[in-house]
Amino acid sequence: MEIKNNQPPVLEIKNVSKDFSEVYALKNVDMQVFPGQVAAVIGENGAGKSTLMKIISGVHLDFEGQVLLNGENVYFKNPKEAAEKGVAIIHQELNLISHLSITENLFLGQELTTKMGLLDYPKMHRKAKELLGRLQLDADPRTPVIQLRVGQQQLVEIAKALLLESKVLIMDEPTSAISDNEVELLFRIINDLKSKGVAIVYISHKLDELFKIADQFTVLRDGEKIGSGNMKETSHDKLIQMMVGRKLTERIKKKSALVQEEVLRVENLCFLNPENKNDYLVNDISFSLKKGEVLGICGLMGAGRTEVLEAIFGLFPKYVSGKIYIEGKEIRIKSVNEAIEAGIGLVPEDRKLQGLIMNMNVEKNTSLSNLNRISSFGFIHKNKEEELSKYFIKKLNTRVASSKMEVQKLSGGNQQKVVIAKWLATNPKVLLLDEPTRGIDVGAKSEIYTLINELASQGMGIIVVSSELTEILAISDNILVLSESKLTTKLSREEATEEVIMKAALAEKEDKSQKTGDGRQETGISSD
């Protein structure tokens, strides 16, 4: 397949290769990106997508081959230089400075100043507010980013790149943590950029997205370019075939073998907003989870999904009220340790901040929550540790040079697999999964779904929070829909469809806007 285009490419990559000390990541890769078009880059975890983007944007300096911008050979010495020349990147991992405000993060390195040379906060806040408005991120630009959820942080990263007004915008999995609503918004912005002639390089494991937004595609496998072409002339299955190199076996449909024995019950769970005493992050939610049940929780961003899991896991005991029962016995969870001792596990949403010790190797990260099992008298059995980690590397098809590799050297998706492995290995009674497949490729995703099913059929109770409706629909027995911190609907797997869920997810929001709408009407009447 050849990409036909009458315009010259704005960005061209010729014969790029890159090897890290242990493994090669890219081999003779070519690619072209045209103005006003979206070029998708796809491939399995560890295929080399992020590495290629880091080469283009001046992060990796040591590589072979050429990068041409507007037909001219360029070599960026750092990301800042790339940005100045019009190449901006939204990295796969979040790179915000947690204690600075949204505004300060947005303008980091390109602060606006007054004539006196002092920071012009009013102007920056104004511009920030406007940008956030475009992304419909309802937050004060003065908020420190540490108070934002991962999805919201991802929007801030997007806003930061938009601020640069670049000619080439690289987006490395921009939608991995945001829900469908925000994805729609992002697509509207991308279309807007396209019409202004901006070229976009777009990486995503969500193939359906690509068919909506991308014009061309390039497939990488094991660091090599397997093929490229126009999105219009390909199909879902063809892309997967190219990525994986084989046909994916249909995954087994979940067999519902629900027993009636309850493993977790939550009554009147409330989670007070630590920042605002009049606001609830989780507002009076009750539900129960049976052994072997997979319970999906969905809702829009900020609906309180993650907070439900955090409340149960004992992360903010001071602000949480309500009753939690494990196997019928009420337990008071005052810390994470107590939650773990009670048999609860949590795969957190932010792998870099909450999930992994970045400078530790794969083995040690995998065993971190399982040390009791592989040690005696406080001494760790190294061979058991290696065994444990190798078992999961095989099971989840994690791409590593060896189990002794530091996790910071793994690709994003493979890092996620390590976090999942750590918690699967603990074999808890109740496993809470927060965006478990964030950044994970299609093949591995179905592996993980299979594993979730397997664990459930062995009697584990599993709660999955996900912003991907298809994921929720694929694995859940029952579904809770949250809206504005409240539980609006409980659905069984038979009742649930995307439409029903979306409607429920918007329920409270509409309620609210109706109320304010009514308010306006009233004032309208009185002024009449």
Binding site: V336, N337, G355, M358, S369, L371, F379, I380
Partner: protein
């Protein structure tokens, strides 16, 4: 490929190589350097630093710091000396307790452990940053030492006590034995045990460690207590060697200790480093001190040179880790 391998080894054994070069250069510059007597001398001199630096390494691995080791050392030494010489007298109840050497030693170590534990409590329970908490303890422990000794040395502690700091056993000085045992235990602790793994995890990413079920407070409490206990051991050796507990003993020891840890390649932000690195760091400082004295370099210049060596070590370390 081969040059890469060579470079890899150069980086890996940089401190050993630095040590060798220093030794070779010094043995050319001074004929007193490469003698058995001098070698034991250096080893004996650094043993106290090695012991407290083991504790310091553990603390720094968790992402903390302990500025109080020097003062805690002085206090523990004074407690040991006081117990040994005067016993404990409770005039109100007309009770007098005399102590054996062992009792006094345990008393000294326990008092160090207690002060370290107190550091741990202020850091974990009251959320005082380690720098501030241990800075406060630096003053508190020094003040307690002054109170305990009345500002005067406690001298004349007997031969048995002196043996700990000046005696020889199987041809090796006692302080070297003690420090070797402690280093060995710490190497095992950091490499083979759950506690060791927890220490690295906390320093690497405290949030992730917490979410993995590691008892952060407990581990930190243990680590600061160990640092206090080892400062106590250091205090006993110093006291024994001088045959007296000086109220201003251990002054500035925290700096030499931090220097050894940093030269040994441990990251001050935590999560990365080794005990053996620290031992090498202590050796580098010890040999440098010794060499400069042998070469009759003025003490003022010695300080300047030591400072630059610390800088150099850290710069090389940063440079290498960037290459990787």
């Amino acid at each position: 490929m081969q040059t890469q391998n060579l470079k890899h080894y150069l980086v890996k054994f940089q401190s050993v190589i630095a040590l060798l070069i220093m030794c070779i250069v010094l043995s050319f510059l001074s004929d007193r350097f490469l003698t058995g007597e001098n070698a034991w001398n250096v080893m004996r001199q650094i043993s106290v630093n090695v012991i407290i630096s083991v504790g310091m390494t553990l603390v720094i691995l968790t992402g903390g710091i302990d500025l109080s080791v020097g003062s805690v050392l002085a206090f523990a030494g004074a407690v040991t000396a006081g117990m040994l010489k005067f016993g404990a007298e409770f005039t109100d109840w007309d009770i007098y307790l005399g102590f054996t050497l062992l009792g006094a030693l345990i008393g000294g170590i326990l008092s160090g452990t207690f002060l370290g534990w107190f550091n741990g409590i202020t850091i974990t329970r009251f959320k005082v940053p380690p720098f501030v908490a241990t800075l406060a303890m630096l003053t508190i422990a020094r003040g307690l030492t002054m109170l305990w000794t009345g500002g005067f040395p406690i001298t004349g502690l007997g031969d048995n006590m002196a043996f700990i700091g000046t005696g020889w056993f199987l041809g090796i000085p006692m302080p070297v034995w003690i420090s070797a045992v402690i280093v060995l235990a710490a190497v095992v602790l950091t490499n083979k045990t759950k506690l060791g793994r927890h220490i690295y995890a906390i320093g690497g990413n405290e949030t992730a460690a917490k979410l993995s079920g590691i008892k952060i407070k407990k581990v930190k409490l243990i680590v600061y207590s160990i640092a206090g206990a080892l400062a106590g051991v250091g205090g006993i050796i110093v006291t024994s060697r001088l045959d007296s507990a000086q109220p201003n003993a251990g002054f500035g020891f925290e700096l030499d200790s931090i220097a050894a840890v940093v030269i040994g390649g441990t990251s001050l932000s935590g999560g990365k480093g080794t005990i053996m690195g620290t031992v090498q760091g202590a050796l580098i400082i010890g040999i440098l001190n010794n060499g400069l004295v042998l070469l009759n370099v003025s003490p003022f210049w010695q300080q300047v040179i030591k400072g630059f060596v610390i800088l150099l070590a850290v710069v090389i370390e940063k440079f290498n880790s960037k290459e990787d």
